[in-house]
Symmetry: C2
């Protein structure tokens, strides 16, 4: 079915807040085989809401409206939608009773604030049976309009459990099947990737879409196959998958929900190895990324943030003469840091970074963005010299992801470019 | 002037990519005194683009179109806009020459790919004089349509240096002045903040807007005053600022571009103090946040990520008996970690965290989200017990921001709730 997503809120049109929810809803609906032709973001103005809703009702099969269903005074969606569609809000005592039942010992002021959550446009049908979340369905001019909360996990739950099944029932005619996969690449640019796979785009005449999306510092490539025939989709998909994997080579690090840190984590876990980190210019970002993955305590011992030179000596046992001779940002210091953390912690792999994140501290010989990444294993200790472009945030991000990518390559036995 | 923002791209309507650029543009235009009535996101379909552009031309004073100006095969904006508005693309050799001049030794394939960047709809005026960035102006039915690249820093530069000055020239009639300030709060919920300041919303009858935006784990409150009279704006603003600051108390940690880590950094710097961190469940996130601030090496020595118990002993000198007696997640261990890192590094303040980020590892007595934060100074060592709600990501984020907030409170001499 063809749908449209409308996000309502002055905070969105003034640029104060980023609208992440429309994209989120579009992704889920697209995966369920629906096509989203437009996403609009509009202010809390009844005239604008009325015009946008009426236009959407005319041309779409269903409409999703997000945001503005909360209890604060700037949550105006129900009220203005009520005005816009000529469906004044009415108080639903049964909804309010359920909201009250979810609270332990609310004070009078809170209860009075929450009454607003039970004021809904005439004819609204509440979507969450226990009223745990805001959200309702209005059928207007025979078109379903789903009003969903802006909180991502609530919206996901309502979309997956309520909205998408209902759309499935409403839908008739031939069902178009959609199969999608997202390939994640690090170390190769968007244009180069495009060049390598562009010949596949034309191959299957409209049924195949390939998209290229820089998601700094990675590039994601999405492969979408649309068809009415299940086995035909499968055949095309298998063929294209193989081609894409060949084209991207070892820069392809994962797909779909994989992240660089989850891929590295799986490799460490399956090889029974433990990692430790010694970070200077990345300030803890590598450790942070690794520990976002549940279960990372199985393969991550911890590490040291040796931001100052003094700590490089005190916590990692570096010789002050080494720092003086080569400078803190050097191949020799990166190697000594990686060895140091491996020995201090007893880990199987020590990774280290030392570099200049900027904006100051650069020299002609070692400009901002100069970073050395060290890797230490019982077999060898190496350092990889890097020169990253961009501002402080970009240099730190590139440093951390490149370090993880080097650990991935080390674990996979891919040859590294070392000093 | 009244404007509208249109983002074009199938990757946006399929939910594959988040549209951050529209919000970004809206924020800059709003600050410059323009009103954005709608932001639309549409696919690469000529009919849809045509309809959306024509509707925008009818009702807005200016239009911003973002994205799809790059060199890969899915960058279709110029081509479809050309079709939609009956302005076929033409090749601009002078633009191509400038693009070529910016490259050192491009190969033939690259040059052939980049030709696309010089194919622009008839009548387009390039915005960047040296063609360093994509972006052009089309005047259609007497309305200016600015086509801007999706890359944030390029868009910012073109908006600030070219688009906003041009709109200033086009604009006539009374200029409405806008003054806006964003207050940042940690530790108090959106509803509670709303309750404390809601009486101010009504005070100035339409000229004052207050918005509430949860930006996890903080809440931001925006104060906007709109008026034709400069001194009137100033008077109203001063009065409301004082009221808001009083209402928010010491949970208000900063305004506008401040972040929790930049506020803590400024306090450390001005008091000449050095901080060191000992992180367990936050895995390096505190160090990472601190070191995103340029110049943080002046007040951040570094620290230890003591993710495993073994490293708490090896790197921080904790007694194994302490860990056995109290458990790693305890007030006693948090204090010993904070003391340990302060002594190991010679810093003035040691901060530590130990806790259970989840999803597993919780017990009845210490469920997921249980975290102890330790603070050690030469005067005293304290631990603050916390119980954070949410998933792993939320617990880690709350742990890091709460730790920074406690350092802020310590440096400001605000009494802490300790164990």
């Amino acid at each position: 079915m063809i749908g449209e997503i409308i996000a309502i809120g002055d905070e969105l049109t003034s640029g104060r807040v980023l609208n992440t929810t429309s994209r989120f809803a579009a992704g889920l609906l697209f995966s369920a085989g629906h096509e989203i032709t437009a996403m609009s973001t509009i202010g809390d103005t009844p005239a604008e809401i009325s015009e946008t809703l009426k236009r959407a009702i005319k041309r779409s099969d269903f409409i999703i409206v997000t945001g503005g269903l909360g209890a604060t005074s700037d949550d105006l969606t129900s009220e203005v939608v009520g005005q816009a569609l000529g469906r004044p809000t009415v108080f639903h005592p049964e909804v309010f009773a359920k909201i009250k039942a979810l609270l332990s010992n609310p004070d009078d002021q809170t209860l009075s604030d929450l009454q607003k959550l039970a004021l809904l446009p005439t004819g609204a049908e509440v979507l969450s049976p226990e009223a745990r979340m805001a959200g309702y369905l209005l059928v207007h001019d025979n078109k379903p309009i789903f009003f969903l909360p802006g909180v991502p996990h609530e919206m996901r739950e309502l979309l997956a459990n309520t909205v998408i099944p209902r759309l499935g029932i409403l839908q008739d005619g031939a069902v178009k099947l959609v199969k999608q996969k997202v390939y994640k690449v690090f170390g190769v640019g968007e244009i180069e990737i495009n060049r390598r796979v562009t010949h596949l785009e034309r191959e299957e005449d409209g049924r195949v879409r390939i998209g290229y999306y820089p998601v700094f510092p990675e590039v994601h490539l999405s492969l979408t196959v649309i068809d009415e025939d299940k086995s035909e989709i499968k055949r095309t998909f298998q063929h294209l998958e193989k081609e894409i994997e060949l084209s991207l080579g070892d820069s392809l690090f994962g797909a779909d929900d994989d992240t660089m840190e989850s891929v590295v984590g799986k490799l460490l876990q399956s090889q029974g190895k433990v990692l430790a980190t010694a970070e200077s210019c990345s300030g803890g970002l590598i450790g942070h990324k690794i520990t976002t993955v549940p279960g990372s305590s199985n393969y991550f011992a911890g590490g040291v943030i040796a931001y100052s030179n003094a700590l490089k000596e005190k916590l990692l046992g570096l010789d002050s003469s080494l720092l003086e001779e080569h400078g803190a940002v050097s191949s020799a210091v990166a190697k000594a840091m990686a060895d140091g953390i491996r020995h201090k912690t007893g880990a199987d792999i020590g990774v280290s970074v030392t570099g200049i994140a900027g904006p100051t501290g650069g020299t002609e010989e070692k400009p901002v963005g100069t970073v050395f990444i060290g890797l230490s294993t019982p077999d060898e200790t190496v350092a990889i010299p890097c020169r990253f472009p961009g501002d402080r945030w970009q240099v730190q991000e590139l440093t951390a992801v490149k370090s993880l990518d080097l650990i991935r390559r080390l674990l996979l036995g891919i040859k590294l470019q070392i000093t």
